[in-house]
């Protein structure tokens, strides 16, 4: 029952966010190790099809996702602190 209070839900969301952050960090580290002309495919959500992309595009996409997550984390953390 305690997990369902505000603090409980906040913890769950924090954990989810932190997981996504770690995922993006892994993506960035993997992409950095590839050569520039390497073929990178991006998986379309909810399907098994992969669209051809590039390392740069995927790196940009990953960075953007990471920035969004950190912003959300800061908002959540700031709200909890208040």
């Amino acid at each position: 029952m305690d997990a369902l209070t505000d603090s409980g839900s906040g913890n769950q969301a924090f954990e989810a966010k932190s997981a996504e952050v770690s995922v993006q960090k892994v993506i960035q580290s993997e992409l950095s190790q590839l050569r520039d002309k390497a073929k990178v495919y991006h998986k379309q959500p909810n399907s098994n099809i992969f669209f051809l992309s590039s390392v740069e595009k995927e790196m940009d996409r990953s960075k953007k996702a990471l920035d969004d997550l950190t912003k959300e984390y800061q908002v959540m953390h700031g709200g909890n602190a208040k």
Binding site: T5, P45, I49, L52
Partner: protein, 430 residues
Amino acid sequence: MAVSCCRVCIVIHFITFSFRLLVLGEKYKNDYETLQERLRTLPNELTHDVMVPFGKLAFMPGKLVHTNEILVLLGDNWFVERSAKQAEDIAQRRIEELNKQLNNLKAQKKLLEPRLEFTSGFKSHMKGKEDVKEIVEEYDAEKERLWDEQHRKNVHKEKEAERMLNKNPPPKPIAAKKQQASDSDLWARLDALEEEEKKRGELESEDSEEEDDDKSGKTLSKGVKQQDQLAKEDGQESDDYSDNDGADDANDGDKETSGNDDTNDEFETDDSEGSEGKRPAVRTIRFTHTDVPSHQCKTAGSAGDTTIDSPADIYKLYCPPSILKKPALGRKKENRKSLPATSKSVGFSSDDDHEMTVKPPSVPSDPPRPKASSSLKAFSGRVLETSQNTQTSGSSPAVHERQADQVTQDELPKRVSKFKASRMAQQGFS
């Protein structure tokens, strides 16, 4: 305590449900947004290089062609072929719908959270962590049982002590004698009071009677006097009607025995003839009905006598069919013909003493009698009290007819079914 736990469970259920829906809604929303982005980029190129899934674990490089032809699922296995732009718009609308649902879910969550806080706080109150404390009575079955036994024993002892006291009262002879004397005095006093009450009751009744006589607003005797007055007035009115009414009322005045009539209600006033001494408590009014042909109404109407002086005149003009039972066989054909629906009027006493049979002026069952032919006798030899006696010449022949009918009725069996009677009558007519 159990109630609070149940409440908490219900609240938890609702909250978890809303949380799950929220999470799902967010996921769907993200999916639609990425789809929108993909649909936006698809028309930019003629073909797209993709890795096509080849079974569960393998992929093959391939190309996407006809990227502007999108089949959109509408639901229930219904698809629609749309362009990329149109599919993008569909996705946008679905995102908006999802946003609405998510807002509702968030509002629901906001409503449920305070409830959860209250129930959780209530639980902590139960534990005694707050200022409010619950009064709890501990129950031990063994202790209760011991207490009950002890209590029973105490009660038993008490009752025995009382019994002993009653059996062996303390020695107080003087007090006992005084008590006996007081008892006898009490009984005597009670008897005296009863006698006084009886006397008072008699006196009161006498006084009340005297007062009623003295006062002008007395009820009992006045009521009796009023009844007498009414009886006298009825007698007078009957005389008046005999003078004033026309031919329609002629046959009503004929005296006739109505022994076999179906409605043997005899109208009479008991105290109308000078019984002014002791008034009876209950007065009975009995009246008889006799057959009256209904064509009287027509004759009255045809004669042009449409003046209405009383309700009886209205009835005579209207002349409805009688609700009374039709008499048994024996009626003459003439009467049958003239009586498609026999109607009955006030009857006559069977005695020859000419008891006063008063006809009330407003009796509804008092239709007029038919006019007999002129060939019949004018005078039957009987004195009639009512007004209709002197109206027409056909009254006495009608009386004769009825007497004859009644004779025949006496001879015939009393009970004949209505249908059979009508059938026989028709056969007789034919």
